[in-house]
Symmetry: C2
Subunit: 145 residues, 2 copies
Amino acid sequence: MTYTVQEVAKKMGLTTYTVRYYHDHGLLPYVKRDENNNRVFDDVDLEWVHLITCLRQTGMPLESIKHYFDLVIEGESTVPERYQIMLAQQQRTLDEISELNHHLETINKKVAHYADVLINAKPDTYEPSNIAATSDSEPDMVTKA
Amino acid sequence: MTYTVQEVAKKMGLTTYTVRYYHDHGLLPYVKRDENNNRVFDDVDLEWVHLITCLRQTGMPLESIKHYFDLVIEGESTVPERYQIMLAQQQRTLDEISELNHHLETINKKVAHYADVLINAKPDTYEPSNIAATSDSEPDMVTKA
DNA sequence: GCCTTGCCTTAGAGTGGGTATAAGGGGTTA
DNA sequence: TAACCCCTTATACCCACTCTAAGGCAAGGC
């Protein structure tokens, strides 16, 4: 099974620009060309694209992904370095998730606060007393002198 | 309590470049200047920086953050729109976390695979039989003709 | 036979969000 | 009076896309 740039992009949730960008930057070393010089991808190429997506979205720069791919191509002897790279990536991802969970709490509070303001506001449509009642410690309630 | 650019940067885990960048782009509308034209931040400004960081790291573009801040400044009447913005941001963050967890699984498998290769390789230091034994379906084991 | 459509190509410019450098000013310490 | 450190503005650079321009090739319709 082979695919065009466009099919790969659609399948992997990327733009055609991005797929070509990866190829042009040496991250898809096995992609072939047809008689019209069009890129021809197969299922293995798709797996590489998937791995790029995974590593990119967990914060690895393209240059590091390229380095890792070079190690994979180099063969078995590079497994120790590849192991260290993946361990680091695992930790980075765990950190990122925990940070996002922390930020999510902040956002949850905002949502709850606004929901509260909206419910309390409904009967009286922004009475001064209600405005005063909502002036808690939320940053957006502090409208500075 | 007031702070210099540098103190704010350190306190919030940003660079001075970034703090000035935010200020220059109108995201810190209340920051003052001293007699030498130096930026002077107070605790409320710090809360704004914190909120920028939270929204940025959960994927909101600076322009949208600015829009949200404009709504906050505009006052109580904008609460419905602010509520919608925060709801969207909440959902985006939940999606992002779930995606990261998915990617984490892929990375976990890599780590487990490499750990396995390393443990099996140790007694015999890359014997051909062990190399063959590890040729499972991992993408990086498919080294194409 | 040619024209539209629709995909592909390359080269190069633009964007977002920083990150850094250059060139210079102000104020404290020694 | 010089060293040091922080500040300023303006400008350039970086990554990872993202898009535009200009054009090639092939299939289908008139």
